[in-house]
């Protein structure tokens, strides 16, 4: 029947050529984003406005249900815990009083020494985790705040008291965070007890097998670093703020070169159940 209408046959490009054109396009985009470090641009903003609200909605429903089931399951536990915590609160209050006194004393002494450098208190913004990486290979996740809330690439992300990762991509209403356990991440860290520097690098294998991250290049000739020592971000890192807790040393061994040590760290953050994070709005300033 279709032949009855005499028309110039519509030109259809064979799939082979479409594939070639699209491949070329992909390769060009990959090269561009690799060399110029651009990511998405306006396309990303549009995608952000379309998908982020939906993800947020699903997440809200999910949290609602998990909260309800948790609530029913853990009520008795919580009551017990409450008692224990109450006694802890009393204990801590006493401790706090002592600390306040000591703080007061410290401030006085600092004034005397004219030391004005204290630990900086960072501006933070809270965000919800609304989606995780689509593949099983990488540990990145999407949070529901973006440039509209002042978030920018290279800002540090923490949860509780520990380091979670760093913002690697940002749109108007979302940001992608690469966790420190991601296979490509590495952070410059420091053992607080001895001030020795080390490199902390995420590994899919170690994380899946025993929930640890690896560290290497620790210079500890006097064998002072012990299992259980806390590791924080180092002052020499150019992206991470100084002094954020990464985790505790889990195992330690001397390398084959007999100079450096390496081992594993148990991170303080529970990456499996991460739901809310804080983004530090101060970026580490590096002299260029």
């Amino acid at each position: 029947m279709k032949q009855s209408i005499k028309r110039k046959p519509k030109f259809v490009l064979p799939p082979k050529y479409i594939l070639m054109i699209m491949t070329g396009l992909c390769v060009v985009v990959m090269l561009l984003s690799f060399t110029l470090n651009i990511s998405g641009g306006p396309l990303q903003s549009v995608a952000g406005y379309v998908f982020v609200p939906m993800q947020r909605g699903i997440n809200r429903v999910g949290t609602f249900f998990t909260e309800k089931t948790d609530w029913l399951m853990h009520l008795s536990d919580v009551m017990e815990e409450n008692e224990a915590l109450q006694s802890q609160v009393d204990e801590l209050t006493v401790e706090l009083n002592t600390v306040t006194l000591e703080q007061y004393e410290l401030e006085n002494l600092r004034d005397l020494f004219a030391l004005d450098q204290k630990y900086p208190s960072y501006d933070k913004v809270a965000a919800n985790v609304i989606g995780k990486n689509g593949s099983n290979w990488f540990s990145t996740f999407t949070i529901d705040k973006g440039t509209n809330d002042g978030i920018d690439v290279d800002m540090n992300v923490i949860a509780g008291s520990g380091l979670v990762g760093i913002v690697t991509e940002v749109g108007p209403n979302f940001a992608t965070v690469t966790a420190i356990i991601n296979d490509t991440s590495s952070v410059s860290g420091m053992v607080t007890t001895t001030s020795d520097n080390l490199i902390v690098s995420g590994s899919l294998q170690d994380m899946n097998e025993s929930m640890v991250i690896r560290f290497s290049d620790l210079n500890d000739s006097d064998d002072e670093v012990q299992v259980g020592d806390p590791v924080v971000t180092s002052y020499i890192s150019d992206k991470y703020q100084q002094g954020i807790l990464i985790g505790y040393i889990d195992s330690i061994a001397t390398d084959a070169n007999n100079l450096t040590k390496s081992g594993t760290i148990t991170p303080v953050v529970d990456f499996e159940h991460i739901a809310e994070v804080l983004v530090i709005l101060n970026k580490k300033q590096v002299i260029e």
Partner: protein, 172 residues
């Protein structure tokens, strides 16, 4: 047009489920890859061209939110969609063996490519570990989901084809 909108909705729903629900239902931090099910099934149900475009847009979506190099997943999924298109002539809706086989093959190839380009190149040589702990678990989990998801996609596609045929005959 109807098909495009439907496809957009399918991809959106699958993406959202993949990044939220299935991540929450992960066993041993492995979750199924339902995006590959969509791309692969539309590839062998509808042919190379449609598979190619669905793969491209699905991959692009993952690229935009995953924080890696833009275009990598787009390229990978595009080829998966295109190559599945070669099996269109062998495809019969009643037979589930070929779709299962193709989706399984696509998932394994996809993961091997990711391993090869993003892990092996960074001196992660332990192929066996990644095979046993990432690729195979994902394959099994994906196959379980496929049994349900495939029929949903099949039904949607058949419905669309019926509507398209009807409106095509109306015009003539």
């Amino acid at each position: 047009m109807r098909r495009k909108i439907t496809l957009f909705i399918i991809i959106t729903i699958c993406y959202l489920l993949q990044t939220t629900l299935f991540r929450a239902l992960a066993f041993a931090s492995i979750s199924p890859n339902i995006m590959i099910v969509v791309v692969s099934s539309f590839g062998f149900m509808r042919g190379k061209k449609e598979g190619l475009f669905i793969g491209f847009f699905t991959g692009l979506l993952l690229d935009l939110f995953s924080g890696s190099i833009l275009g990598f997943y787009a390229l990978l999924y595009m080829y998966i969609g295109y190559l599945n298109g070669y099996f269109r002539k062998l495809f019969y809706p009643e037979d589930i063996k070929l779709p299962m086989l193709l989706i399984a093959g696509s998932d394994v190839c996809y993961n091997l490519f990711i391993y090869f380009f993003l892990f092996l190149f960074r001196n992660r040589y332990d192929v066996r570990y990644y095979l046993m702990h990432v690729i195979l678990p994902e394959l099994v989990y994906t196959m379980v989901i496929t049994i349900f998801l495939y029929f949903v996609i099949l039904k949607i596609n058949q419905r669309l084809e019926v509507i398209e045929k009807r409106s095509a005959s109306k015009f003539v």
